[in-house]
């Protein structure tokens, strides 16, 4: 069906509305000398939109005058499903939200339910959760950086280097939780299985070798003049607009706002680890790329500290119940610093085994709302790079 609002060019809002909305000054749409505007629909089947996401782009020559994001193609009714299954039943579905980092999704959901039911978590489980979360952050940032350079036009070389390293981490997830990406590993009150010393040894060996990979990766890319030209000054996001739009994660820190939930909330046992939070200055695509690289280096530090002083003991709280788990009526909001930003679960319980309301605060969805402001005045090639730097996963955007 043709969306009436897009179809007829005359239905464009007055340029004055657009002008106040964003910094780019937009020429009147129909003046004679400049010719008409070209409307191009990029997606949903487009090689570089990271899944089924569509951008209806109005071009004046090469410059974007209007960009309307259209998503919802991957909507699977995740939240209504959450209301019809038990609390445990929703856990495997959280793997399918942001399918690149299932461990952090599980942890956020488990944290929310533990807050709701006041469930204590043993010490070793906290350490295991931190280790798995930081490993997921490395995996996600490697994927992002790889795909970003694929959008920039390298023929898969950085992507394949990043995936070579990611495979090693994914294999460790598989040997622990049984599945590479759909781990379903956290439970309310701890983890499902106790990692063996050999597994922890393999993780520390892999983590110690990781900075060497990062150095080689930065040597390939960070100084590259074409990369500097293509990403510096492209897609700038002002700190004020970022805060107003509720942006979180590396995108927010790239714009200069040093807000990291691991430091702000201090959930789990993060206060025990010393790590730094990198901040950008310009909020452009290059800063967002460097945020991920520097965050990977910080995650390696956290992992090394956690692996060094992980205690022995059980990973599952004995009083935790798997079946007919009925938390007392009330509500809770558990959030963690996922690789893409603040991923939070808001639960309302009415005492029955199914939650009354099950709401997911997905970072990709919120970070995507400012895509038009960053793309106005840029060219088509830039819009693809800006979308790549926002790091969206459609499973999380559409839920």
């Amino acid at each position: 069906m043709t969306d009436p609002e897009i179809a007829s060019p005359s239905a464009f809002p007055e340029p004055s509305v657009l002008a106040t909305h964003s910094a780019a000054t937009v020429r009147p749409v129909h003046d004679e000398f400049h010719g008409d505007l070209l409307e191009v629909s990029m997606g949903p089947q487009h090689p570089s939109t990271h899944g089924v996401f569509r951008m209806v782009v109005t071009l004046d020559g090469e410059v974007i005058v209007k960009l309307k994001p259209v998503f919802g193609y991957l909507h699977r009714n995740h939240e209504k499903l959450g209301e019809n299954t038990t609390y445990l039943g929703s856990m495997p579905y959280t793997d399918r939200l942001d399918y690149l980092c299932s461990m952090t999704n599980n942890w956020a959901y488990a944290l929310a339910v533990e807050k709701l039911a006041g469930q204590p978590v043993p010490e070793r489980a906290e350490y295991v959760r931190v280790i798995l979360a930081e490993m997921t952050r490395l995996v996600n940032h490697m994927c992002l950086v790889g795909f970003l350079f694929n959008d920039l036009g390298t023929s898969f070389t950085p992507l394949l280097y990043a995936f070579r390293e990611r495979e090693k981490f994914i294999d460790l997830f598989e040997s622990l939780s049984g599945s590479r990406m759909m781990c379903n590993f956290q439970r309310f009150g701890g983890c499902r299985a106790n990692p063996s010393p050999e597994w922890l040894g393999a993780v520390s060996k892999l983590v110690d070798g990781f900075p060497k990979f990062l150095d080689e990766y930065e040597q390939l890319l960070t100084g590259n003049e074409i990369l500097l030209a293509r990403t510096q000054g492209v897609g700038c996001l002002s700190p004020e607009l970022a805060v107003q739009a509720g942006i979180t994660g590396p995108m927010l820190r790239a714009s200069g706002v040093g807000y990291d939930i691991r430091k702000a909330d201090g959930y789990g046992i993060y206060p025990r680890f010393d790590f730094r939070v990198p901040i950008g200055a310009h909020g452009d695509t290059y800063d967002r790329y460097m945020m991920r690289i520097l965050e990977m280096r910080e995650s390696v530090k956290i992992l090394q500290q956690a692996l060094r002083d992980i205690p022995a003991g059980p990973v599952m709280d004995p009083k935790s119940r798997l079946r007919n788990f009925r938390p007392k009526p009330g509500e809770a909001y558990g959030r963690i610093e996922g690789p893409k930003g603040e991923i939070g679960f808001y639960l309302i319980s009415d005492g029955s085994p199914n939650p009354l309301r099950y709401r997911v605060r997905a970072p990709s969805f919120v970070n995507l709302t400012v895509i038009e402001d960053m793309c106005l005045g840029r060219t088509v090639a830039d819009s693809v790079v800006i979308l790549g730097s926002v790091d969206i996963v459609l499973g999380e955007v559409d839920r």
Binding site: T25, G35, V63, A229, G233, G377
Partner: protein
């Protein structure tokens, strides 16, 4: 050899004639380029390789692009141009103009005494051409140079005036 000559002449005339009659502007522009290629073939037949390749390089390479871009970018205004219904007055004006130019051309051709050159023209090597250009003809080369730079600067000014009312494009 004359058969090839006639063939090329027919090619040039044919393509320009068809180009005039076609509705589709792009097709006529491309046929125009074909006629330029025909002229380059003429130069080759006359043994002036340098001029032939220069013709192909300049016309088929660059001027054809300008023509096609012009046709492409003014596509919009063509729609508003309403062609007046075929009236007798326009037909008469057309025939008159055509007749006048044809008359002038045939007069010029008849008036000049074209001797048939006894033997093929001496092949001029590129080096001689170069020396000739830099030697006695150096003034004309410099004048042409100045004209081209002025044209280039004009284009830059035109484009610049178009750009500064749009958003300043960051490097």
């Amino acid at each position: 050899m004359t058969a090839a000559l006639i063939l090329i002449a027919l090619l040039i005339l044919g393509s320009t004639a068809v180009a005039m009659s076609l509705r589709n502007l792009i097709h006529s522009a491309l046929l125009l380029v074909l006629s330029w290629m025909g002229i380059a073939a003429f130069y080759l037949w006359a043994g002036a390789e340098f001029v032939a390749f220069a013709q192909v390089l300049v016309y088929a390479g660059a001027v054809s692009m300008i023509v096609l871009f012009a046709v492409l970018l003014t596509r919009r205004s063509r729609a508003d141009l309403s062609i007046a219904p075929a009236s007798l007055r326009r037909a008469v004006a057309g025939v008159l103009a055509g007749g006048a130019t044809a008359g002038v051309l045939t007069l010029a051709v008849l008036r000049t005494n074209l001797q048939i050159a006894p033997s093929a023209a001496p092949t001029v090597t590129v080096q001689q051409l170069g020396l000739e250009l830099i030697g006695p003809q150096v003034a004309s080369v410099l004048v042409v140079g100045v004209i081209l730079t002025v044209a280039l600067l004009g284009a830059v000014v035109l484009a610049a005036s178009d750009r500064n009312d749009g958003k300043e494009d960051a490097p």
